[in-house]
C-alpha cells in the first residue's frame, strides 16, 4: 500500500469521512445532518476502494447512500418539525467522556498489538469469491439474512399502516 496515489487517496478520504461524521454531530438542522451522513457513507465507500474491496464499496453506496439515507430522510419528514433542531440531551458530557474513552482504548489497542500482517497484494476481483463463499460456506446465514429482511419489511409495513389496530391509549 505504498504507491503515492493510494496514500494520498487514503488521507483525503479519511479526512472527508471524519469531518462529515463530526458535521453530523455539529450541524443544527437535521436535514443537513443527513446530508453530512451521506457524505460520510460515500467517504467510507472510497476507503473500501483504497482497500481494493470493490464489491463492498459499490454495495455500500447502493444500500447506505441510496436506500438507508432516503429512509432516514422520509422518517424526518414524517416526524414533527419541533425536534428537528438536532439538539443534545442533558447527558451530553457523560456521553462525550465515554466516546473519548472508547476512542482511546480502541486506538491504543490498534497501535499496541502487532497484527499478523500478511504480504499479500490487493485482491484482483472480489465479487465472484464473495458470491461463492456466500453460497457454499455461509449458505445458512445467507438464508437467515433473507428471512430477516422479509420479517423486517413486513414488520415496518404493519407498524406504519394507518388503520392498524395498535392504537395508543
Amino acid at each position: 500500500m505504498d504507491d503515492t496515489g493510494t496514500v494520498v487517496a487514503f488521507y483525503m478520504l479519511s479526512a472527508l469521512t471524519i469531518v462529515s461524521a463530526l458535521g453530523v454531530v455539529v450541524v443544527r438542522n437535521l436535514i443537513h445532518a443527513v446530508v453530512f451522513l451521506i457524505l460520510s457513507f460515500v467517504g467510507v465507500a472510497g476507503l473500501y476502494i483504497t482497500l481494493s474491496a470493490d464489491f463492498v464499496a459499490v454495495t455500500q453506496v447502493l444500500i447506505y447512500a441510496g436506500a438507508v439515507s432516503v429512509l432516514i430522510l422520509f422518517a424526518i419528514v414524517l416526524t414533527p418539525t419541533g425536534d428537528r433542531g438536532n439538539q443534545e440531551t442533558f447527558l451530553r458530557l457523560p456521553a462525550l467522556l465515554l466516546a473519548l474513552l472508547v476512542a482511546f482504548t480502541l486506538g491504543y489497542v490498534a497501535i499496541d498489538t502487532d497484527w499478523a500482517i500478511s504480504d499479500r497484494e490487493g485482491f484482483q476481483q472480489t465479487a465472484s469469491t464473495i458470491g461463492e463463499a456466500l453460497l457454499d460456506k455461509y449458505v445458512l446465514p445467507f438464508e437467515i439474512a433473507s428471512v430477516l429482511l422479509l420479517v423486517a419489511m413486513m414488520g415496518a409495513i404493519v407498524l406504519v399502516r394507518p388503520d392498524s389496530a395498535m392504537e395508543g391509549e
Binding site: D3, T4, G5, N29, I31, H32, V35, I38, D54, F55, V58, T59, V61, L62, A65, G66, A67, S69, V70, L73, V77, Q125, A127
Partner: protein
Amino acid sequence: MIRLAEWYDFRDLGNTVGSLLDQIRDWGAPDWVPYVVSGLIGVVAILLWTVLSVLAFIWIERRVVGLMQNRIGPNRVGPNGLLQPVADALKLLFKEPITTREADRILFWLAPIVVFVPTIVVFAVIPFGERMVLADLNVGVLFLIAVGSLNTIAIFMAGWSSNNKYALIGAMRTIAMLISYELIQVLVLLAAVLFVGSMRLGDIVAWQAGYGVWLLFLQPLGLLGYIVSGAVEMNRSPTDIAEAESEIVAGYHTEYGGIKFGFFYQAEYLAGFAIAAVIVTLYMGGWTLWGVEDWVPGWLIFLAKLYGVFFIYIWSRGTLPRLRIDQLMAFAWKFLLPLSLVNVIIIGGEKLLWQEAELSSGEALPLFAVVNWAVAVVLIVGWAWVLGHQRPERVAHRAVLTQEVGAIHFGEPAPTV
C-alpha cells in the same frame, strides 16, 4: 483489410491513446503520469461528448417532435434553428438564479450539482470502443445501479429545500417512482449478468460478440423491464410524472431559474443518454456489430446505436400520454416485478441447463431465444389479462346512435371498437 500504421488509425481511439501513453513513458516520466494522462483524456472526452450531444439532441428532439406534430420546429435562430440550443443555454446563463426567501439555502444550491454528478459518472464505466473505457470496474453493472440510486437524494433535496407545495408533491412522487423502478432495474440486470457470468461491461460486450448473439434476442422480458424503468428514471414519455405540466406545474424544479434549471434540464438528457448507453452495451452488443467493427470504428457503431435507442424515447415522448402516479406504481409492483422475478428464474434455469447438459452454444442459444420470446409473449398477455386488462369496464367502445329524443341509455352495452 490492411491495418493502417498504428498511430493514425482512427478505427479505435483506444490504441491511439495507447500509443500516446507509450510516447510519454519513453520520455521517462514517473510511472503514474501516463495513468493520470489517460484518466484526464477519458474525462475530457466524456464531458465534451456529453455536452455536444446534449446540445445536438435538444435541437434534434424539437425538430423531430415538431415533424410528428406536423409543424416545423425551431428554425429562427441560426441556419434553420441550429443555434437554438445555444441560444437556450445562453438565455439560461443570463437569467438570474433566484433563491426563494424561505428556501433552505445550502440544499437549494447543492441540489442541481448532486443531480448532475451521478448521471455523468455512469459514463465512466460504459465501454465506448475497443479499449475506450475510462474505469474498467469488474463490478460495472452494480456500479451503474448504485450511482443511479444516488439521484433519489438529489431530487429530495431539490423538492424539500425549495419550500414550495408543488415542488414537494413532485419530489415525493418522483422518489416513490424511482425506488420502485430501481428494484425492477436490479432484477432485470441481475438476469443479464447471471446469463453472461460477469459484471464487467467489457466482458458482457465480448460475450455477445463471441457468441454473435445480442442479449436482446435472449432476454425480451429483461429488455422490456429496463426500457420502462429507464423511461421512468429519466422522467420522460409516458412517465413524466415529476414535471407533469398539466398537473403540478414543474415538479421539483419549479423554483429553479437560470443555470440551476439548466443543470436539471441537462441532467435529464444525460440520464437519457446513460440509459440508452446501458441498453446498447448490455442488450445490443455494445460497440460490436457482428464483425462490422473490424473496418468501421467501434465507437461510431456504439454512438449510432445509442442515438437510435434515444430516438425511441423521443418518439414515445411525442406520442404517448402520461400515466397517473398510482397507475404507474401499480404497473411496477403488480406487473413488472412478478415478470422480472419469473425472468430471473427462467434465465437461471437456462444457464444451468446450458452448463449441465453440455449443449453446444450453437443449439442452446437459438433454443433459449425462441423459448424466451414465447414465454415473454405468453406472460405479458396472460398476466395483463389476469390483472383485468380486458375486464368489461376497460374495453374501448363507441357511442350509441339513437333517433328518439329523451331516451335513457345509461348502462346499456355499447358497440365496441
